[in-house]
C-alpha cells in the first residue's frame, strides 16, 4: 500500500520535471553556452582547428536518431516556443521509454529469481 503511494508520488514528480525541462533549453541559449565541452560534431571541430579529423568524418554520422537534439528532424531553425514543446514531448517520450525498458528488465530479472526460489 505504502509503496504504491510512494511510486505514485514519484511518477507525478517525474511528470512535473518533464514540464519544466524547457528551462534546460532556454538558459543555455540565453547565455550562448553552445555545446557541452567535447561533444562536438565535425563542423564545430573544423571551426576550432581548421580541419575535420579523418576518423571523425568517417564515423560521426553512423546513426541517425529519430529525434536528434530532442526535436523532430529538420527543426533546428524553429522558434524557441516550438522547440520547447518538442523538448517537453521528448522528455515524456524519453521518460516512457526509459521506464518501460527498465521495468521490462526488472520484471525479467525478478521473475527469474522467483522461479529459482520456488
Amino acid at each position: 500500500m505504502r509503496a504504491h503511494r510512494l511510486t505514485h508520488r514519484l511518477w507525478i514528480a517525474l511528470g512535473l520535471l518533464a514540464l519544466l525541462t524547457p528551462l534546460g533549453l532556454w538558459l543555455p541559449q540565453r547565455l550562448k553556452a553552445g555545446d557541452a565541452w567535447g561533444e562536438w560534431g565535425p563542423e564545430q571541430v573544423s571551426r576550432q582547428v581548421g580541419f575535420v579529423p579523418e576518423g571523425m568524418s568517417r564515423s560521426s554520422d553512423r546513426w541517425h536518431a529519430p529525434m536528434p537534439d530532442y526535436a523532430p528532424k529538420g527543426w533546428e531553425k524553429r522558434s524557441l516556443f516550438r522547440l520547447s514543446v518538442a523538448y517537453i514531448g521528448s522528455a515524456l517520450i524519453g521518460v516512457a521509454a526509459c521506464a518501460a525498458l527498465a521495468w521490462a528488465l526488472g520484471r525479467w530479472l525478478s521473475r527469474k529469481e522467483k522461479a529459482r526460489a520456488a
Binding site: T7, G34, G38, W63, A65, G106
Partner: protein, 234 residues
C-alpha cells in the same frame, strides 16, 4: 559528458564495451538477487529520472553546458548496481532516440556515468552517512558530497578518454583521427567546468532529493544502507 560517435578511436570504444559487458552481467545478477515486485517500479523511476534530469542543461556563458545525471541519487537510494542498470538504460535511450551520445561510444559513456560515477558516489555517501538515522544531517551532507565527487571523478575519466585520442590515433600526416585535444587540455577542461559548476548542480539535486525523501519516505532512505548493513552482519 556524452561522448558522440566519431570522437573515440575503435580501440578506445572497443575496450570500453569489453569492460562494460561483464559489468552489465554482474549488475544483472546482483539485481536478480535483490529486486522485488516493490523495487521494480523504483528501478523504472530511477531510469526515467536519470533521463529527465539530464535534460536540464546548465550553461557556462559563451563556453559550455552541463547537467546533473541522477546517478549518485539512484546509487544512494537503490544501490550502485541498480544505478548501473538505470543509468545505462537512460544513456541507451538518449543515444538511440535523441542522438545524445554515440552508439559506438555508448560503452564508454556507460563506464563513466553508469559505473564510475554511481560507485564513487555510493562509497562517499556510505563513508559520510554511516548508519545515522534517516533524518540525520550526515545523510544530506553525505549525499551532496557524493554527488559532487561522483560527477567530478566521471568528468576526469571522460577527459582522460578524450585526451588519449590524439596520442593513440593519428593519420599518416600526424593529425589526430578522432578527438583533437590531448590530455593536458581535455582533463583540466572537463574537470574545471565540473568542479566549478556542474558538480554543485549534481550535489544540490542529490542532497535536495535526499532531504525531501528523508522527511516523507524515511524507509526508502535507510532501506538501501540497512539492507547492506544486514548483509554485512549476516
Amino acid at each position: 559528458m556524452h561522448i558522440p560517435d566519431g570522437t573515440l578511436s575503435p580501440a578506445t570504444f572497443g575496450a570500453a564495451y569489453a569492460a562494460m559487458v561483464p559489468i552489465w552481467v554482474v549488475a544483472g545478477r546482483k539485481l536478480k538477487k535483490t529486486l522485488t515486485a516493490r523495487t521494480v517500479p523504483l528501478l523504472a523511476i530511477g531510469a526515467a529520472f536519470s533521463f529527465v534530469i539530464m535534460m536540464f542543461n546548465v550553461p557556462i556563458p559563451f563556453a559550455s553546458t552541463g547537467h546533473a545525471t541522477g546517478a549518485p541519487l539512484i546509487a544512494i537510494l537503490l544501490g550502485p548496481w541498480a544505478a548501473t542498470v538505470a543509468v545505462s538504460v537512460a544513456l541507451a535511450v538518449q543515444a538511440f532516440l535523441f542522438q545524445d551520445g554515440g552508439l559506438t561510444t555508448l560503452g564508454a559513456n556507460c563506464l563513466n556515468m553508469a559505473v564510475i560515477m554511481p560507485f564513487t558516489s555510493y562509497g562517499v555517501y556510505r563513508l559520510i552517512a554511516g548508519r545515522s538515522d534517516a533524518k540525520s544531517a550526515r545523510r544530506v551532507i553525505g549525499a551532496g558530497v557524493a554527488g559532487y565527487v561522483g560527477l567530478n571523478i566521471a568528468a576526469v575519466t571522460t577527459g582522460v578518454m578524450l585526451g588519449l585520442q590524439p596520442l593513440i590515433a593519428r593519420a599518416a600526416d600526424g593529425r589526430p583521427l578522432y578527438f583533437v585535444y590531448g590530455l593536458k587540455l581535455a582533463v583540466p577542461a572537463m574537470a574545471g567546468e565540473h568542479l566549478a559548476l556542474f558538480g554543485f548542480v549534481e550535489a544540490a539535486v542529490t542532497a535536495g532529493a535526499l532531504a525531501y525523501l528523508a522527511r516523507t519516505e524515511p524507509a526508502l532512505v535507510v532501506g538501501a544502507s540497512q539492507a547492506a548493513a544486514k548483509k554485512g552482519a549476516a
